[in-house]
């Protein structure tokens, strides 16, 4: 662990005082929000499929599931909305240097993201409260704008992040930002692939998480149509996503060596330039030395450069003050890839077995794996974000602005971080308690779950 601590210490010693807490604050609030954002993006599509099945086939099981999922989404979307608002504030509060200088370059996609959030929130309200109050088909159609808005919103937010990795749509002349073209900044070179990667990730996270809930129920012996369908629909979504993700991820990483050599070198733990580069699994980088890795020859060049000979540029060719914290980036990247490959193999196994007429849902070990697949997908998601974000350091706008220049000069940011951790922990506990109590009441046969505003006798007034 010592290299990690050394890395952290070095960061603390060389950077301005407010930088580290600001980065941790951003990491906490973004890392928390991104999980809920996934539900905002991918859940509506799954609800739509379930609801559609319910209406088309007059399938009461499917309708019941869609109804429950809608209620769950009401809770998740609410905390997603407020934690997203936190990020809007933090953009200005924590990074005044970034927003003051580049606000008019990077802001446009946020404006469109705001529009899609509007659409999502409006139709969510209509859909959630429309059960039994609208003609069924029209009611179902209300999910469509929600799902579309989720996709557009993802594109817009990712567009900003892609711009930070591959800044474009402006020039810097004598320290001034000139020739701003916000459309070019929004549709930068990286946005399509980075969007694809995140969009698919959202389906993996939500698909595996929801399927895992019903896998858990089956482990407890609840093997009815309700649990099978509740498992299968999200699992099919997760399957498509898990199969596609390695390819999209590979394409995204395709020219990383040209764009951000330091990030690629940290991913691959390339201390020197070797031709061909091996794939280094695990290990540590400490003071210019790499140790403890399992090396597979050729594979590094093959995966990172699509070539048997072209090397990964070594860290020794890059000035030390432009190195990201290498071990964090390396381990985060490899965790993401490792989990991604594992999940891909698991879905392949499931469908291959099914093709051979074996149902793995009868296998307790497979069910157990499905229960942890959701959390694993979340870990992969977080690891991926850590890899790309920490890997971009010390830059906030790659090649143009260092993160230290973007931070504000506040004291007391550690207090803010502490309070945020407390509030978010409270919100997490609240959500878990409420969602579990909903599941418990559903199992007990309640359907509508009215909230108890009064002691029992007054309950008669509720309809």
């Amino acid at each position: 662990m010592t290299p990690l601590i050394a890395e952290a210490l070095q960061t603390v010693m060389t950077d301005p005082e407010g930088l580290l807490p600001a980065r941790q604050q951003m990491a906490l609030s973004l890392g928390w929000h991104i999980v809920l954002a996934c539900f905002g993006v991918a859940f509506p599509a799954m609800i739509f499929v379930m609801h559609l099945r319910g209406i088309r086939r007059d399938d009461q099981v499917a309708l019941g599931l869609a109804k429950r999922w809608a209620k769950v989404s009401a809770v998740l979307f609410a905390i997603g909305a407020v934690s997203g608002t936190v990020l809007s504030f933090e953009m200005g509060l924590l990074w005044p240097g970034l927003m003051g200088t580049y606000g008019d370059v990077l802001g446009l996609p946020f404006a469109f993201e705001g529009l899609s959030f509007f659409v999502e929130a409006i139709f969510l309200g209509i859909y959630l409260y429309g059960w039994g109050r609208m003609p069924p088909r029209r009611h179902l159609l209300m999910v469509v704008p929600m799902a579309v808005a989720g996709v557009v919103g993802t594109f817009c937010v990712i567009s900003v992040n892609a711009w930070m990795n591959a800044p474009t749509g402006f020039r810097v002349e004598n320290g001034e930002v000139v020739d701003v073209d916000p459309w070019r900044a929004m549709f930068n070179d990286l946005v399509v692939l980075q969007f694809g990667h995140m969009w698919i990730a959202a389906y993996m996270v939500v698909g595996f998480s929801i399927a895992g809930v019903y896998a858990f129920g089956m482990l407890r012996g609840r093997r009815d149509a309700h649990h099978r369908l509740g498992f299968l629909v999200p699992f099919v979504f997760a399957t498509v996503a898990a199969l596609g993700q390695p390819f999209v991820g590979h394409l995204l990483g395709g020219n990383l060596g040209d764009r951000q050599p330091a990030k690629l070198a940290a991913f691959e733990l390339a201390e020197t330039t070797e031709s061909p580069s091996p794939l280094r699994i695990g290990g540590w980088y400490d003071d210019g030395e790499v140790s403890g890795t399992i090396d597979i020859p050729y594979l590094g060049s093959l995966l990172a450069q699509n070539s048997f000979t072209e090397p990964v540029r070594g860290l020794d060719t890059i000035p030390a003050d432009e190195h990201p914290p290498i071990n964090i980036v390396h381990w985060a990247f490899q965790s993401m890839v490792g989990i991604g490959v594992l999940l891909m193999l698991a879905v392949l196994l499931f469908w291959a077995a099914r093709w051979r007429r074996r149902d793995l849902l009868e296998n307790r070990w497979f069910l157990r794996f499905c229960v942890v697949a959701g959390p694993l997908a979340v870990v992969a998601l977080e690891a991926g974000w850590i890899a790309t974000e920490v890997g971009r350091q010390p830059w906030i706008v790659y090649g143009f602005m260092r993160t230290s220049e973007a931070a504000g000069s506040y004291s007391g940011l550690w207090w803010l971080l502490g309070s945020t951790a407390v509030v978010y922990a409270g919100m997490t506990v609240g959500a878990v308690v409420v969602l579990r109590s909903m599941a418990r009441r559903w199992r007990a046969g309640e359907e509508d779950l009215p909230s108890p505003y009064a002691p029992e006798p007054a309950g008669e007034e509720r309809r």
Partner: protein, 333 residues
């Protein structure tokens, strides 16, 4: 009209919309908090839940709209305001988080104890949030946000204009909520509840009106630039607000709740617009003019495209949502 002013106008439309629609949602927290113990307050709390449930998230997005347009169109002034006003903004943010989360949690609480806990959090944060946002408005309007963001972290928002701004924000929110909740109760055939709300809404409205008018006195002294505007260019709006407020009270008192919603909206929209028109042409009063604050021209043009798109894509469904929630069918559950 210059490009900068056009974008600033679009931005301010968002401020007014947030004050009116978001405000009505926040204001319901006041009635929730003062509804009495669990038994007596159950009916009112159920009504609050039902009234703002479908709309609060959509209304909340106006705030995002305002932030996004502000930082994209006027980035330096945004950074300056965020840096100087970090304390009230963080407190408002805390309120926003607690309000939204505990509202959703309360709706699906399993026990009365949980519903109580989340209910108190929801209601209290619904009152604190508009207060702190009001102090932010007061800070900008009284010229306490320097263009370089170096304003005092405390006196910038603890001063007469800010504190009255906060009080006005809380009052107008509660006033709007009272009128809308009374209308909802009456439409849902809960006349007894409507009666209770009628009295409270009139009381809240009268107090708020008095605070708004009374605030003019210290503001004249504390914020000269704003008060020049309020007594000059924006005077018709101040008068309109007073008239509409009085009309609302009269309509509520005579139990014409549905009709009272319109003048209530006009009263709040015009008092907020009065602030905007009053501080024109300043973005940060006495510090930065709107025309000098704009970011890149191409970005301002692109933002107007986004605003135009919003008018086409967002407004019709928003109207549809409001029509549904204000219909009789949706009120009878």
């Amino acid at each position: 009209m210059s490009l900068e002013v056009a974008v600033a106008a679009a931005l301010f439309v968002g401020v007014v919309a947030y004050a009116v629609f978001g405000g009505a949602d926040f204001g319901s927290g006041f009635f929730d908090l003062t509804a009495g113990d669990a038994r007596r307050g159950a009916e009112l709390r159920t009504l609050v839940d039902h009234s703002i449930g479908p709309v609060w998230e959509a209304n909340h997005v106006w705030l995002i709209y305002v932030l996004v347009i502000w930082w994209t169109a006027f980035p330096e002034s945004f950074a300056a305001a965020m840096t100087t006003l970090v304390v009230p903004l963080l407190l408002a943010l805390l309120g926003i988080v607690l309000r939204g989360a505990s509202f959703a949690f309360r709706k699906f609480s399993a026990t009365l104890g949980q519903a109580r806990l989340f209910g108190v959090l929801f209601a209290a944060s619904s009152i604190l949030t508009p207060f702190f946002l009001g102090t932010v408005a007061g800070a900008i309007a009284s010229g306490r946000v320097p263009a370089d963001g170096s304003g005092d972290r405390w006196s910038s928002w603890i001063n007469p204009t800010s504190l009255f701004g906060g009080a006005i924000a809380v009052g107008t929110c509660a006033f709007l909520a009272g009128v809308f909740l009374a209308a909802d109760a009456s439409r849902g055939d809960r006349q007894q509840l409507a009666e209770v709300l009628r009295v409270r809404a009139v009381a809240v409205g009268a107090v708020t009106g008095a605070v708004v008018l009374g605030a003019l006195v210290p503001i004249l002294d504390d914020a000269p630039t704003l008060s020049d505007g309020l007594t000059g260019r924006a005077a018709p709006l101040v008068v309109l607000s007073a008239l509409a407020g009085a009309a609302t009270l009269w309509l509520v008192w005579t139990r014409r709740y549905a009709a009272a919603r319109w003048p209530a909206v006009v009263a709040v929209a015009s008092v907020v617009s009065g602030w905007g028109v009053g501080q024109y042409p300043w973005l940060l009063v006495d510090e930065t003019r709107i025309v000098d604050a704009g970011g890149a021209e191409a970005t301002l043009q692109a933002l107007l495209v986004a605003v135009g798109l919003a008018a086409v894509v967002v407004v019709p469904p928003l109207v549809y949502l409001f029509r549904l929630t204000q219909s009789e069918e949706w009120s009878r559950h």
